[in-house]
Symmetry: C2
Subunit: 516 residues, 2 copies
């Protein structure tokens, strides 16, 4: 069932959208396209220096606000990649911690910039008045960066999150019980089945991410919150006040874990029927014959890999009977074969949906992997940053991917893994099973997203789906006060009974001695 069958709302509504730039924008825009088609009026808050979000659009009005992009640039990610690649050679137990420290320093900086940007808006009464007077019906935001949720909370708008990751970790940790015995913390590269050592690692990561939340992220915003919010407000509780979480996940891919009634899963919502390719590209695809085509793309934020790695990959591709389409920026590798087409942009979903496509060489970003799942194309993963390592662990655990480490990549190991993906039918079989399961749901992911966004608008929130858990202090949530009382009471009871017993024994003993 598709969202096209949903009844339209009686009147269009005004939605304020605060997206996250970069790859997050790619699928937020598709969602906005659908909302626009359903007659809603959309306003997008962006940075004047935005990387991807156009100022002029036929589907939304934009407002220039202050965002992360004001003070940072994409080049930053290339530098981060250099540092991460060094850590990849460490033993796996230490590596994930070392990487996390790297992320922490990035988080600290990022949140400081975010907070400065937010403060510029909050401290500008004219700007805030304009937002207030616009009387929006909904805040739709990606809480990966918190500017949208701060504004939404301040303007007292019903809030819907389009979310994958939040702050230091996976969005679920913020709102659903997440036993660390089988829910891997993000960044650990662990599966849901863990041995003792892995569970120890997971718990340590969990403690560290709690430290990050309370010692680094929350304090970054405390000044701003003190000045503009009611006393006691903190970033975590504002996140937990969202009406509905649209999580870009699907349990075909994600390990099953507890969830909450106001969480809905829209993983792969950007996927749609593949469109025809440009004529030239189509001709190239057809020229591959029975061998088919390998598609390679490393996403949007990393513009160039180290030169020697490019050469090794190009040399491996040259040895394949398949043809290759490679989204490539930078200097043309000298080892490039005739079978490889370099392009600076590619229609990724249409290529993955093409019947000639046999494998997808990918960095493991969420968007690309859901597209691979949707079209049933097995993946050779080359993870570089952030959640890409964790994402590929999941796909590998399902027998639908292999992973090559960028830090130790050679022509030989890359070629061996790619040939395995291409020639061993189990990868394709597993991926097509995932694809069938992913598509087998009563409402499409996009339909789910549209339905719950409009649900929150027409019911002016969804308070009845929000657990009271979020309003409890941690010791109450874990019933520690009650347990303490019960322990004191049973201690007292034990003491009293021992006292009475010993008193009785004593008397009896005395009596006995008297008698004797």
């Amino acid at each position: 069932l598709d969202h096209s069958t949903l009844p339209f709302l009686p009147m269009p509504h005004r939605i304020l959208v605060v997206p996250v730039d970069g790859s997050h924008w790619v699928n937020m825009e598709l969602l906005l396209r659908e909302l626009h088609a359903r007659g809603h009026s959309l306003t997008v808050l962006r940075s004047a220096k935005s990387w991807y979000i156009p100022q002029n659009s036929s589907i939304y009005t934009s407002i220039n606000g202050h965002m992360l992009e004001d003070e940072s640039d994409k080049n930053f990610y290339n530098e981060l990649l250099q540092r991460i690649m060094k850590h990849r050679k460490l033993p796996s137990f230490i590596r994930s911690f070392r990487q996390q420290f790297e992320i922490t320093s990035m988080l600290r900086m990022g949140h400081q910039i975010c907070c400065r940007a937010a403060a510029k808006m909050f401290d500008d009464p004219v700007f805030m008045k304009k937002l207030q007077d616009a009387k929006y019906d909904l805040m739709l935001t990606d809480p990966g960066l918190p500017i949208g949720l701060l504004l939404g909370s301040y303007l007292q708008l019903p809030m819907v999150f389009n979310v994958r990751w939040i702050n230091s970790g996976e969005s679920h940790f913020t709102m659903a019980p997440s036993p660390v015995s089988y829910v891997p913390v993000s960044g650990t590269e662990l599966e849901d089945q863990m041995d003792f050592l892995e569970r120890t690692k997971n718990l340590l990561h969990y403690l560290y991410s709690a430290f990050e939340q309370y010692a680094i992220i929350n304090p970054a915003y405390s000044d701003l919150l003190q000045r503009h919010f009611p006393p006691g407000a903190d970033l975590l509780s504002i996140q937990q006040s969202a009406d509905v979480w649209l999580v870009r996940a699907d349990f075909v891919f994600e390990f099953p874990r507890p969830t909450m009634p106001n969480v809905f899963y829209i993983g792969g919502f950007q996927c749609r029927k593949a469109q025809a390719l440009p004529a030239e590209l189509e001709a190239f695809m057809q020229s591959s014959g029975e061998h088919g085509v390998v598609v390679m793309s490393l996403g949007t934020i990393i513009s160039a890999l180290p030169r020697d790695m490019m050469e090794a990959i190009a040399a491996a591709f040259a040895q394949l009977p398949q043809k290759v389409v490679w989204k490539f920026l930078g200097q043309r590798p000298s080892s490039l074969g005739n079978n490889t087409l370099l392009v600076d942009w590619l229609p990724q979903t249409d290529l993955l949906g093409h019947p000639k496509t046999r494998a997808f060489v990918a960095h493991g970003g969420t968007n690309g992997l859901y597209e691979a799942i949707y079209y049933g194309v097995p993946v050779l993963g080359l993870p570089l940053l952030f959640d890409q390592f964790d994402n590929l662990v999941r796909l590998k655990a399902r027998g639908a991917a292999r992973v090559v480490e960028a830090s130790s990549l050679t022509t030989e190991n890359f070629l061996e893994a790619l040939k395995d993906i291409l020639n061993n039918p189990s990868y394709q079989d597993n991926m097509q099973r995932l694809s069938r399961l992913h598509r087998d749901r009563p409402v499409s992911p996009m339909g789910t997203a549209i339905f719950w966004i409009e649900y929150v608008i027409r019911n002016k929130g969804a308070a009845h789906l929000r657990a009271v858990a979020y309003d409890l202090p941690w010791y109450t949530y874990h019933s520690l006060d009650v347990v303490a009382l019960l322990m004191v009471l049973s201690g007292a009871l034990l003491w009293a009974s021992v006292s009475v017993c010993s008193l009785l024994c004593c008397r009896r003993f005395r009596k006995k001695t008297k008698v004797e």
Copy 2:
């Protein structure tokens, strides 16, 4: 969206159904009707002495097996009611425990009968061979009594539960994290917002229900499991092996709480557009004029209330300007007014859906309350047994019901509460808001049920939605082993540093003294 829009499965499938008799059968039958209409072949396992489940049906084939009803009769519930009503006069903190003890003795007896019944089937190789040879595609069962799930597990069938309560408690406690700080244990009559004393009560109830599970229910089946199942099998882990849980709940009614990816909510799935009433009843409804009608029904298992209570209720009804339709068994009350129609059966959903209906006097069974929510009719609750107290606490918390205690019912307090429901518009407003929210979902509850049943059939299970949590021992689940290790390590570290420090200090001190 309705299940009528779901595509049909390519071929009909064989479903083995093990229902629970009584009110649970009422809505299971409606589900079977839909499954039959979609072409599935249904086999229902029932007791030859079944209370409600007919042997001959146009929608299913029946097999006579051994069930609870073989050795117990419905009269038992009337006796239980007498005992429960005595406890209702106790202070509320103690009352729920006293009631739970009553339930425990009933549970012990019930599970012993169930186990004997199951053993008769498991020990009959001809019967079991017949079930095995039938090669069913699915076990659809209500796990309120465990015969179906034992058979399903033994026959290694994919399993779908149609469930409200399980064993000693709410079904969620078996499969989802349930922090006792805000998830009330069944039988406590608590809300999700609790003060310290209530949280203490809730924790004690939780401990008691764990005791019930491990000391009373699990052992009842240990012999049977030892003889027919692999070593180590216990009832709880067999319950947790279900592929999909269709829970008869909706968060419009239920307090929001953690849930799991293989749980889907079908509360109110039996509700449908009201049909025309029989002519005579319709004429009675119309004769009520502007005042409308009060509908009263106390469900299926309690056949008669104490005589004085009946008289008090009849006398209260007689003083109303409304007309009353009362599902009544027993001797006609002498105080009965002209406005009251006694019937021995009533078309409950059609009456609740009638525009003249103003209020519903109900015992608070799950079916009736979801029908009241569906049609937006406010409720005067007269809870008698089991979950009825808890159910009405939920509806009362939403301002859509009042509750009168059967044990202290008088004409005056019953009339006051009923007039309040009829004359104070807030009850109707709140109920209609619940009704709007309940109906506002992308797929109807019945559509959800049908979809996930067929999902499990076509995918031969839903293992990828089942968390690994269920396979972990409790100390691993709670990471107690890892915490113990970390505490030992940090203790050792502390000891080592203290030792080194004191050693250094000592030396320094000695040196000093030497020098001196």
